[in-house]
Amino acid sequence: MSPPDSDPDDSDLVRMVQGGDKERFSLLIGRHQRAVFGLGLGFFKNREDAADFTQDVFLKAFRNLSSFQGRSKFSTWLYRIAYNTAINALKRRKEYASLAEDAELADYDDPERQALGETTRAAVLSAVKDLPERYRICVDLYFFFGVPYPDIETITGFPVNTIKSHVFRAKSILRETLKNENQGMRIRE
């Protein structure tokens, strides 16, 4: 375990909050609010609802923190709360729009990064366009949130092989798109 005041990891912070140090919960909020807000935006498609959703998720997480036993990562447990909250709020419609659809990518000075932004967005959109909406979150969780397959299964409840096949297809499309982009650049040069 790391010393309390160095840079405690999530599990240390959870133990501190469970021990009564409520203020430490603000560090957990700081670390994960962007991801929870991103999930909210995917489900609710507007920033106000996503912000309300983010508050709701963190309050639920705090109220239920005593039942968190550390069997999974805190982030996985938190995303599962977020996923269930969103599904219940949407009356089990499970609609989800990929973050790639409305991503506000920065204007990069570096043309290579600019091109990377456009290429990755095109690839993800192409990968998710034929997917049922409820499975789109698997692709986002893998690519944008960096969540491994077993954790995506824990969060969404979809079978791991289903998740793998959707991600595999998306990665293949990404690879093809990058390859074509690279060949196009060579021709232009």
Binding site: K22, S26, Q33, R34, Q55, S66, T120, K171, K179, N182
Partner: protein, 155 residues
Amino acid sequence: MDCVRAMLSIIESKEDGHLPLRVRLHLSHCASCNAEYKRLRKAIAFMRSEYLPRSPDLGELIMTAIRVTPTLEAAPVSFRDWTIAGIVILAAIAIAPLGSAFSWVKKSFGSDFLLPLNVVLGLILSAYGALFIGTHLNEFVKRFKLDEHRELEQP
């Protein structure tokens, strides 16, 4: 290993940098696959760092609500542990008549002890059931979908 198989294996692998030895060997002598592998990793690293939308800072707002939330509920014994304990209690009751102690008591007191014994066992099971349900009310509601009726009844 040919280029097609190497790329398939790369796509199937996780982004933690661990690739099968045969793939790594292939990448060491195939400049084109190596460049493609690096492009793919770079793209995925880019997606993980750039795509999440900026969130408004909600920390203080959430902490204000949390500060007025009384205290954390005491950690309950998990649903699974309660279920296991229940199975152990039932198994113990079921095999008790087969034990030598039970035979000795029956021989010494006849059938007179059966009524008080059953009363005690009934009390134990009732207390167990009441505590189990009482401490996991929300979980029972969710598992057995008891809230669906309530939702339907609400206007």
